[in-house]
Symmetry: C2
Subunit: 186 residues, 2 copies
DNA sequence: ACCTGAACACCGTTCAAGT
DNA sequence: ACCTGAACACCGTTCAAGT
């Protein structure tokens, strides 16, 4: 007798992402995910091969979300320096809204749980385009790396609570955007 | 009857750091640490209050190591732009030698496992000093943040395998150092 | 074809009992 | 005063049995 699925991979990934955001990595347990979608933990294995694969799906989903936000942050034709600021702020907003997802996507990860190259490429396409406009096509890659490194490093430190020596964090971010843009435009 | 301790907190922290580097966070189990230092897992609780506290001790030890390397990278009197490059390269070397420890110290961490402010301040003192020389005392904090964000972000991406679009990663690093230095001196 | 309870091998942690 | 085995409450995962 065939039995219709009582849940779906989409519902499972969404539940996992919610749990990750609410309770941290330890809160993303197979039992908790099962409870959220209305099945027992062993049933999840009909939809996903294990916890590691589920975490990876959450990361890929987050990377797609981030990539779309970066694309949308600066329409074609926006002056490059302005576009750079907009992209940096979009990254920061994403990190503030979905800090756990940001950590998943941008944290230095061990080999086995890296994003596949195509997902990584797509989520950074907008930044490479902006960098090319600013620094010239021959320095596009280095410039994109410099910008992404700075922005993700800044936000990572912010999330880590590393900016507790006082001072205005927003101002430090804008200071950095300005300086990075000028440096890349060289 | 008193019984002499068969292990020590130092040996335990060292064993934990080794395991973290060799087998990743999951490999740092109380049982594995116990096996390395020659006692059973429950005995570790005579020396450390739990696994979380042990991970924190490893992180503090790594932060101290990193701080010392940064201090040593550029003796007083080194021209600031040169000192900045030396500090950035020292950070990168540390990350290459102790990638797991680097992730522990520089990764965006949840509130409960952050370094205490004093440890954080000491490990970044050298960078703040260099930034002040380069950007002037009134912009020291923002400049230090920009530099640290860029360098740690760059290395984090490097460790995460995010630089797989080809190109020379060493050259990208030097490109970034140069541009950041100019931008901060700006 | 999916879901379940039971089971297995792991964790971290507690604690009474040993020396 | 430290160390131990046993126990407890959790994991992730497998699998035979149910529908």
């Amino acid at each position: 007798m065939p039995a219709p699925a009582r849940t779906s991979i989409d519902a499972i990934v969404r539940a996992a992402a919610d749990l990750l955001e609410a309770d941290g990595p330890a809160g993303l347990s197979m039992q908790a995910v099962g409870a959220r979608v209305g099945v027992r933990a062993p049933s999840l294995y009909k939809h996903v091969s294990g916890r590691g694969a589920l975490v990876r799906l959450v990361a890929e989903d987050a990377a797609r979300d981030l990539g779309e936000r970066l694309d949308a942050s600066a329409p074609f034709g926006t002056p490059p320096k302005e576009a750079l600021g907009a992209a940096a702020r979009a990254l920061r907003s994403f990190a503030h809204e979905r800090p756990a997802a940001f950590r998943l996507v941008l944290s230095p990860a061990a080999e086995e749980d890296r994003l596949d190259p195509e997902t990584a490429r797509r989520s950074s396409a907008a930044v490479v385009r902006i960098a090319a406009e600013l620094a010239g096509p021959e320095h596009a890659l280095e410039a994109a790396r410099t910008l992404t490194a700075w922005a993700s490093g800044f936000v990572a430190m912010e999330l880590a609570g590393a900016f507790r020596m006082g001072g205005d964090v927003d101002a430090a971010f804008e200071f950095g955007v300005e300086r990075i843009a000028d440096a890349l435009a060289g």
